[in-house]
Amino acid sequence: MKLYPDVRGRYGEFGGRFVPETLMHAVEELEHAFNEAWGDPTFREQYRQTLTAYSGRPTPLTHAKRLSDYIGGADIYLKREDLNHTGAHKINNAIGQGLLAKRMGKQKLIAETGAGQHGVATATVAAYLGLSCKVFMGETDMERQKLNVFRMELLGGEVVPAKTGSRTLKDATNEALRYWAEHVEDTFYLIGSVVGPHPYPKMVREFQRIIGDEAKEQFLQATGKLPDALVACVGGGSNAIGLFYPFLEDDHVQLFGAEAGGKGIDTDEHAATLARGRKGVLHGALTYVLQDENGQIQEPYSVSAGLDYPGIGPEHAYLASIGRAVYEPVTDQEALEAVSLLCRLEGILPALESAHALALAAKKARELGKGRALIVNLSGRGDKDVETLMKYKTAGGHA
């Protein structure tokens, strides 16, 4: 495997550790603890066991036959992360970091959340492991995602409203970092994506690569070869890295990431960080960032709250810069149409985030043509989005 990040947590020029001095000790301590635990077979076994017995892994690889026929191109396979406990891939990482927190003797978890999926996963793991849990969530998002707020509270989590800035995921992350700086001596910050200061992007990748490891084995078993392409949606990018990483050195496997194109990347309302961002520092890492000409961070937009983030994981910035992975924007409208399609043709309601990947996959399947095959990461299920979908349907749109 490629030897990155380097010792400074850099993926090429991206990544690193841009945090206030107060947090430096904590991220160094975390790095040592993670490296030690990940090198310990007992810890790995505990992690694998928990994924199996608690979250229901391995998740299946489903051949979407009717969808493939309808598209009329390459065969489409779905990696079913939607079938995980709590409904998305987020739990893989939450279990990994939760077990690590416990091993480090930390009794208090904090997390940030946008739509609430990572918050729910963290509150779930906190309950399972007997830890306390505070989830920072933008006030605007709390209003938009009332059900997930209630769900986190049912699980014993405390939801702390972030009332600064635009009151969404970016501000929730700021608040979590500020709280962590103040309570750093006994608190574990469980970041939900491959973002943040080193070692988070690496650690979260390692806890999510199970997706790609399983998919590779399952696809080989089913077809005797490797797929021609992989497709995943990218906000911070943890489900995408999870799928891509074990295939990085299989050069003939093309990698495609779907960014949230919102209402179009020529409008101000999108979250297409690689298409429209510039290099900058956000939440502890050097990466691509949506920002104005002075470096003030801009507010992203997407119909899908999980992709509504102005940055992207530094490893994706690196993969894009060397051309190993290609990232394309997918609009709200295209994603909503993909939801409809998968519901009707396969009987699966995908999360709006995953629907971005499906829309891009349909395009790639056509381009690749018959006789080829691709895997889409179906990163989550769409039960959480039913209210949003109803609104669009009532407004006369698709889905």
């Binding site: 001095e21 000790h25 600064t164 103040e182 939440h283």
Partner: protein
């Protein structure tokens, strides 16, 4: 560097007063008036904060100041022009720019070098740029003959403290409490041992900040550091007088009131001693 070394010295008779204000909060006229008022109150250096959309090292008071200044369109470039104006109008004390790293990155090395070369500014302080990531900016500052001010906190490990203390120039900023900037009742329990350790490691003067808002706190820290930094407590006085500071005809009245309040709450020693 000359100006900073002249004003900020080791083991001064009384601790140097280093105030912080946000550029453009709530307007440029106030920033200018505040700078001169603070110099009159005995400030030995002035930290000028550049507003940022995501100030993650700052507490609510400075976050709000940042938001107010951004609404009025303050930028790093405008702040440089504001500092030029302060010099033209005769401000003598050293000026340290306090700015988040992304703003410097977007300005670019060429323009930054050019702006630092005028001699108006005496140091940079970047709260989200730890020592390990500071090589490029540190070199750029050195080439312009001014220090990049480093921070250390009670959670800084002994080995890092030794390295940072060795490299520090200008002064070393000691974070008195964990968390973000803001007024506090108490400091970190290990504050005294921490400041002694920093004193031992540092090859330059040391200043303590984060959470200082009363003269009693200053008194308690006396002798343990060479300077004390006050931000939120000053910005808070500004915030309490926004309507007066907005108007040209009432601004100086508000500034006088702020001077009296700060003298009373923070600097009785200065009032009696000078």
């Amino acid at each position: 560097m000359m100006r900073l070394a002249h004003y900020i010295t080791s083991h001064p008779e009384r601790m140097h007063f280093i105030p912080f204000i946000t550029a453009g909060d709530p307007n440029e006229e106030t920033t200018v008036a505040m700078a001169f008022a603070l110099e009159e109150l005995g400030a030995q250096a002035l930290e000028i904060g550049i507003p940022y959309s995501d100030p993650l090292a700052d507490g609510p008071v400075i976050q709000r100041a940042s938001a107010r200044a951004l609404t009025r369109g303050m930028t790093l470039r405008k702040a440089f022009r504001l500092v030029r104006r302060l010099r033209e109008e005769g401000l003598q004390i050293p000026i340290i720019l306090f700015t988040y790293y992304n703003l410097l990155l977007q300005l670019g090395e060429n323009e930054l070098s050019q702006m630092l070369s005028t001699g108006d500014i005496d140091g940079l302080l970047v709260p989200d740029l730890p020592f390990e990531e500071s090589e490029a900016l540190g070199a750029l500052c050195r080439s312009q003959g001014l220090p990049l001010i480093y921070l250390v906190s009670p959670t800084t490990s002994p080995s890092r403290l030794a390295r940072i203390g060795q490299a520090a120039k200008g002064f070393l900023y000691c974070v008195s409490s964990l968390g973000v900037t803001g007024m506090r009742e108490t400091f970190h329990p290990e504050i005294i041992a921490f400041l002694k350790a920093v004193r031992h490691s540092a090859s330059c003067p040391i200043a303590v900040g984060f959470g200082i808002s009363t003269s009693a706190q200053v008194e308690a820290l006396s002798g343990l550091a060479d300077g004390f930094i006050v931000g939120s407590a000053i910005v808070n006085e500004v915030e309490e007088r926004l309507p007066l500071l907005e108007q040209d005809d009432t601004r100086s009245e508000a500034i006088e009131a702020i001077k009296i309040a700060l003298t009373h709450k923070l600097l009785p020693e200065y009032k009696n001693g000078r």
